[in-house]
Symmetry: C2
Subunit: 539 residues, 2 copies
């Protein structure tokens, strides 16, 4: 089909296509560009006869060169390109591109929480504190935050670990969340989104060489922030596979296998758990969390609990348990277990990705090491103070009886109820099709269906030098206009194929997405399947 022409042409070189498009372009021109560079230089009479660039693919930081970040990979760039083609009137078999590649709620049309934005606007432009159109509780929150800022301005630096008043509110929030378990503001560090805090904690843990080098256990499938960060800081990535047959839970035998193998070539020092799961959407049971903590304790591992989706739990019977609370309830036998828990303003019901709010709670870290961690962030000056203020609203929302309480609750409920509905629509839709299975989307913002690809498609993809799930996802984009991320970007068991699709488009659009998927998948199976059952839905 002609709509595939461009992607196919580009994708004929696998290595190139796994990179960003701008790199791709350069990779294709690599030799020529090098020649030009040398040519220019050798013409110049500065005494350096063959002066090349100081910074090049050959001389650059090798750890950055190997890192990848699939969520913003080439398929996303291609989606943007197709959207632009549509806008220019190019004919496609679909009217619009629907981007289901990234957990970016506002980009998909979700409206900001009114109260949250009122507070931030008031903090930004305090003249509005005299405006009678703003509710009194929003003004009170804003004034309180401004009182905590030096010079009463969001424009002054905060402490490097964040404003004290907001760290206090975060600690109160955690205490409420965990049923009264104490949280000390001195162990809270605010950050620009969760990613920044995750990176700095990982960085703290890196040391050693050879067999002594730090290894970090991460789930497969994983959120590629982890693989990218570990590559960048030159730590060893240790894969443990989530159990797809058991709702993507963590299997203790698999954790043991993973660490035993890793010990042959590195020193495992930390384990990352993402709960609720990204890209897999599971919500871990209390028992599973207990087992993981016991495992980490036994194996002397620092726990990084990525809990940014703690508000995103949809499946009946599922509940979010924080690692901190479960650890505490395991009692003194597990006292001293080191834990860092991460939270973000980008997810949940607020979806404030662009404003970059986040925090990290450190539990039972060696005080010297914690002081070093706080020193490490001091050269970054401070996380965005308006992002910190966003986090303050999230952890300190309007209370019953306050002017904005009802609207806040209504908006929050609306977002979460709609996400729950879409989680079900998407999983049910996938499971109604031959060759597609999808675990219940218990939480987070993603479905991660398993696609049984026909051998002919796998062979065709390999012939083109690309991952079969990328081949499939490219077809989905080019034929149906839906942008998803191939499972290979997150990792998956060999021989299985998935993609990650967010549940963030509106209910109407999600139905559109599923309709497009059904048609596309049927066409794909007809083209590459054995021609028998592949076109029939299961029910």
């Amino acid at each position: 089909m002609s709509t595939f022409g461009r992607a196919r042409g580009v994708a004929s070189n696998f290595i190139s296509y796994t990179r960003q498009p701008s790199i791709l372009r350069m990779a294709l021109n690599g030799e020529r560009s090098l020649l030009i560079t040398n040519g220019t230089m050798s013409c110049q009479g500065n005494g350096v006869s063959k002066r090349g660039k100081v910074l090049s693919l050959e001389t650059m930081n090798p750890h950055i060169r190997v890192m990848e970040y699939a969520v913003r990979g080439p398929i996303v760039q291609r989606a943007t390109q197709i959207q632009k083609e549509l806008e220019k009137g190019v004919s496609k078999p679909f009217p619009s591109v629907i981007k289901c590649n990234i957990g970016d709620a506002h980009a998909m049309g979700q409206k900001p929480m009114t109260f949250l934005r009122q507070v931030i606007a008031l903090c930004t432009y305090p003249a509005l504190l005299d405006d009678s159109n703003f509710p009194s509780d929003a003004k009170q929150r804003a004034q309180r935050i401004l009182n905590g800022c030096k010079g009463g301005s969001l424009g002054s630096y905060s402490e490097s670990i964040g404003l004290e008043i907001i760290r206090n509110d975060v600690a109160e929030y955690i205490k409420r969340r965990d049923g009264g378990l104490e949280s000390n503001p001195k162990n809270i560090m605010l950050s620009a989104g969760a990613s920044e805090a995750i990176r700095v904690v990982l960085k703290m843990l890196v040391s050693g060489e050879g067999k002594g080098k730090t290894g970090v256990m991460i789930p497969i499938p994983q959120y590629p922030l982890y693989s990218a960060s570990l590559a960048e800081i030159d730590a060893t990535q240790i894969n443990y596979y989530l159990d797809e047959d058991n709702a993507w839970s963590l299997d203790m035998a698999e954790l043991q296998r993973s660490i035993n193998e890793a010990r042959k070539h590195c020193t495992p020092r930390a384990i990352v758990i993402i709960n609720p799961g990204n890209p897999t959407g599971q919500v871990l049971s209390r028992q599973n969390i207990e087992d993981i903590i016991k495992f980490a304790y036994k194996e002397n591992l620092f726990i990084l609990a990525d809990e940014v989706y703690q508000d995103n739990v949809y499946a009946p019977g599922s509940k979010f348990y924080s690692f901190k609370k479960v650890l505490h309830e395991l009692g003194p036998d597990y006292a001293g277990q080191e834990l860092a828990s991460f939270m973000s303003t980008s997810k949940g019901y607020m979806g404030e990705c662009g404003l970059r709010g986040g925090y990290c709670e450190l539990v039972d870290i060696d005080p010297d090491a914690q002081a070093q961690l706080f020193k490490a962030v001091s050269a970054k000056l401070c996380p965005t103070v308006s992002g910190q203020a966003v986090m303050d609203v999230v952890v300190n929302p309007p209370q019953e009886g306050e002017e904005s309480y009802e609207l806040f609750q209504k908006e929050k409920k609306n977002v979460l109820d709609t996400l729950a509905l879409k989680a079900k629509v998407v999983a049910d839709g996938f499971n109604s099709l031959e060759g597609v299975t999808c675990n219940t989307v218990m939480g987070a913002m993603y479905s991660f269906p398993n696609i049984t690809l026909p051998q002919k498609a796998i062979d065709k993809a390999k012939e083109m030098g690309k991952q079969p799930d990328l081949f499939y996802a490219e077809h989905f984009l080019e034929e149906a206009g839906v942008c998803v991320v191939p499972g290979s970007g997150f990792g998956q068991r060999d021989g299985t194929y998935h993609f990650r699709m967010t549940i963030l488009p509106s209910v109407e659009l999600i139905h559109d997405v599923m309709d497009r998927f059904k048609k596309f998948h049927a066409n794909f199976m007809e083209k590459y399947g054995d021609g028998e059952s592949s076109l029939n839905a299961k029910m």
Copy 2:
């Protein structure tokens, strides 16, 4: 004197006192804390008999352990403590603490630019676009930025290198600044303050081991972001000394000496220049910049031009020249020279530190390497979008004829004129005293006076195991309530002593600071000097 008791007690251990206070506390308790940890662990029957912490001073990332960041060091923590003591009614020989340690204008009472905050408030809470109290040009700017955001919200992620519309505006700004020299938005990367971009460019440059390891030339005195970042990424810091006798300019013989020595043990690949200078306040002449570029070209060095103070030029006859413009005007002989120029919203006349806006322009970088750099930032998702919007206002301010033009110009002029006045007051004040000399504060936000310390004070400091300039700065804080940063935090020639003091307090406060300094310095000289001329002012 009794006010020194606390600081002296603490400071009797030099190593402890050069760290953050929280580390200090732990360092004093180091052994005990370790015993407790081991004790707790060995009581627990988990099969790991002596389970210590995974993360400790011994096991942590050694590169983070060695890094230091003086601007937020212990003397600043002590200043905060003294302020709290004053608030509690503790008697001190001064009524208030004046913090002159950090370039944080709003913290020192500078008011935000009205137009800037209006635009950000409008972007944050678009319902205000219907508010007749906001000027039309602010609304137009805000709507334009929102049109560039996915979903029309600051809460959606931008491209990792920043919103396209803002990168376009940055390129236009640079073109205007440099007299029409083209700037390509594709070479612009927005960042959370300049620091983030500086770190990622430095990180790109790190490779090799032993003699092959990347060395980066930095000025001494320097802004400690550089030494801290180089320590963290394990690059070799190469010091070149600024010429204090020639207005802190760069001396070519010194650059040559520095690189020649460095080549014996590492591979110099980049040079950092801070212009206008931090902490030294110089504004480089055009000739000096030409010479530096020629040097970098000859020695095959990547240039990092920290130009965040480009709006802060005060001295008559001084002018800011961008490295990019000078490089271009040097003509084809120097074509291909790699350059990264950094800018921030934290400095200038706006002083929006907490909102974290910044950009980097990349000039003549190898396209493959630039693509890798952009890939490296993709895992960070994006810099704060509201910080990006702040940068947009800075590069795209109200134009003549627009509603907010006059107020904007008035506010800007007021800030810059006042800074120029204070720059003169401070330098003149220092130069009026025996044993104190201070170069003209030509630009930036800092004075960096040279103090001739009496031998007795130097001996006393050394006896206490601390740097003489720290000893002096501590006395200044404890006796006069003024917080400055010792020169040793920035680096200085052996045997010279300085401190960095911002010119950010209000005119009234700056006079107060200088009065306090004169009295303090006289007392100090009386106590530690030879008892003759030290009390007499020069004039």
